[in-house]
């Protein structure tokens, strides 16, 4: 409860400062929409030529793409400060302060920043998802909607866990921006059907950095073409295991070896 209250206060303060930097916000949104529309144009162009991608129709690919943006946006909204952890907090020594306050340092780090740019991803994701849902003539049952929510939450948690793991490397190396960036780039693959990639890429996305469970695996379940059995459950388990490993074995271990900086 106290943590919720603290989060609310941070959020309120953040929104206040946001007003001061409104132009930043607008530019962020704009660049985001440019990226999104270029992705969509790319998809449409491909499907003009090949109407069927490895057994996936244009509508289905849209469905997967739209779905993938929702957990991505949700994670982005809340945990953007992990980027700053990776890039500068350790190097500059400003990370010290999180270890000097009587609240969970990861919560403190994350609560401090809120990224409304992410609404862009979520809006685009939901629209494309809705559009594809309509084109595909889907009609989900209550249970399916529930599973969908679980899948979205699991997907976000996978994003957060992977970002946390890569960001925490900075606690050893002072900076892990590049590692985080490269790994995060891999998530772009997760917006498309996994089957179009080589076995090598597939294995990476399923086992090493399991972005496949963010969108493709659950979406394949909702499209009635399950890629693996019990996709949603497996996704949830993967999410929890990833979180457990990242939090306990990387982040917490990192706090013990954290060296701060000389002046």
């Amino acid at each position: 409860m106290r943590y919720l209250r603290i989060y609310k206060i941070f959020l309120k303060q953040y929104l206040k400062t946001l007003m001061e930097y409104r132009s930043d916000f607008l530019i962020g949104m704009l660049s985001f929409f440019i990226v999104q529309s270029s992705n969509l144009i790319f998809l449409t162009l491909i499907f003009k030529r090949i109407p069927n991608l490895n057994g996936w129709t244009f509508e289905e690919v849209l469905f997967i793409y739209g779905f993938s943006q929702i957990p991505r946006g949700l994670d982005h909204l809340f945990t953007d400060n992990l980027w700053l952890l990776a890039n500068e907090y350790v190097r500059s020594g400003s990370f010290d302060k999180y270890l000097l306050r009587p609240i969970n340092p990861l919560f403190h780090l994350i609560a401090e920043r809120f990224q409304p740019d992410a609404f862009g991803e979520m809006i685009v994701g939901l629209s494309i998802f809705g559009y594809a849902y309509h084109l595909l003539n889907l009609s989900f049952t209550g249970i399916q909607w529930l599973l969908l929510i679980i899948a979205v939450l699991s997907g976000s948690l996978i994003y957060t866990s992977i970002k946390l793991a890569a960001g925490s490397i900075a606690l050893w190396t002072k900076r892990s921006q590049h590692v985080l960036f490269i790994i995060y780039q891999l998530s772009d693959f997760a917006s498309y059907p996994l089957t179009i990639f080589s076995t090598f890429v597939r294995m990476i996305l399923l086992i090493v950095v399991p972005f496949a469970f963010v969108a493709f695996v659950p979406a394949s379940v909702f499209l009635d073409k399950p890629y693996i059995p019990l996709g949603i459950l497996t996704g949830a388990i993967v999410a929890f295991v990833m979180w457990f490993i990242s939090y306990n074995f990387i982040w917490k271990r990192g706090l013990q070896v954290y060296e701060s900086t000389g002046n």
Partner: protein, 338 residues
């Protein structure tokens, strides 16, 4: 209240050769070097003490403080603060300490100071009444009212430091760690900060650990001094005893009519005969002699000089902490210890 026992902190640094070749080489073999930033230090601090923790740059002061506050994990040894091991119980420990690093703020850059305080109130879970009372007290003590509505990034260094100190004390901690809180401040702000530290210590028995390069901070505040050099604590005791420890030095200044090279030579030879480490220098007509009074008596010097020439004026001064610090910062007092 604070126990530090045989604590060592090593840092491993990787040396890079310069240039492109060095960078490529660095990818494969890295030269490892281990720095003992803090080397087997032990001390105890009691409630209500104000420790002046001094030493040259890089001596290990900040590292010690970071270990006591729980930010860093010691490489070996034990630290307990009010019964807790700081790095293992960071959250519990944080409730009872306040920390100010002069070099960087812990406030939120974009937020008005007032809002910062309300966030800290929640983070430290300070009850409403206590918060009001405390905030009033601190705002008064540190004279913050005038800029409390401004975003932290617009504050001057002096204002920011006062704000940082207030923020660190908002939850009424028992221990206050101050790492160079007066660095870069003008005399007036320094005075304010000193006054505040004193007041907190007297009214609330706050234990203070203070590092500084400003010896007047130490003179005015410290009830005990610890000196660290190259990671080793070389002095731990009162302000008064410090002279005994580092040679009972005094300085004699003589204003002399027609000060000549020969006279300078003669005085120098005479002083060195009795105290090898004495230093004789001159500036215009002023002869300055630093000597250990256990070996060389003032009367001997005066008698000798007066027999040779006319002394217009003289001044005798005890070595103070400032002098000791100067020698310390100039590169080591260690070998001079008797």
């Amino acid at each position: 209240m604070i126990q530090v026992k045989n604590v060592t902190k090593d840092f491993t640094i990787y040396k890079k050769d310069s240039g492109f070749k060095g960078a490529v080489k660095g990818l494969f073999v890295r030269k490892k070097e281990i720095i003992k930033a803090v080397n087997d230090i032990s001390f105890e601090i009691k409630k209500g003490e104000i420790i002046g923790y001094i030493g040259a740059n890089g001596a290990g002061k900040s590292t010690t403080i970071k270990m006591m506050t729980g930010v860093l994990t010691p490489s070996s040894g034990e630290i307990t603060v009010s019964g807790l091991i700081p790095h293992e119980n960071r959250i519990e420990n944080a409730k009872h300490i306040g920390v100010v690093f002069g070099q960087r703020t812990q406030l939120w850059w974009d937020l008005p100071l007032e809002e910062t305080f309300t966030i800290l109130k929640e983070i430290y879970n300070v009850p409403d009444d206590a918060y009001k009372e405390r905030l009033d007290y601190l705002v008064n003590l540190l004279d913050i009212q005038a800029f409390i509505k401004q975003p932290v990034r617009t504050l001057s260094l002096g204002q920011r430091m006062r704000a940082d100190l207030a923020a660190a004390m908002l939850h009424s901690p028992d221990i206050l760690y101050l790492d160079e809180p007066t660095i870069g401040l003008d005399v007036l702000v320094k005075e304010k900060i000193r006054f505040a530290i004193k007041d907190l210590n007297e009214k609330y028995k706050v234990t203070v650990i203070l590092t500084t390069h400003d010896m007047s901070d130490i003179q005015e505040l410290a009830t005990r001094i610890m000196i660290i050099e190259k990671g080793v604590i070389i002095y731990d005791g009162s302000k008064e005893d410090i002279n005994k420890r580092f040679g009972n030095n005094r300085m004699l200044e003589l204003k002399i009519e027609n000060l000549s090279e020969t006279l300078l030579q003669e005085v120098s030879v005479m002083c060195h005969k009795k105290d090898k480490k004495s230093i004789v220098i001159h500036e215009d007509v002023v002869l300055r002699i630093t000597f250990n009074q256990d070996r060389l008596a003032v009367a001997d010097i005066l008698g000798f000089v007066m027999s040779q020439c006319k002394v217009l004026d003289f001044k005798l001064r005890d070595q103070d902490i400032e002098d000791i610090a100067k020698r310390l910062y100039a590169g080591g007092i260690h070998e001079e210890v008797v």
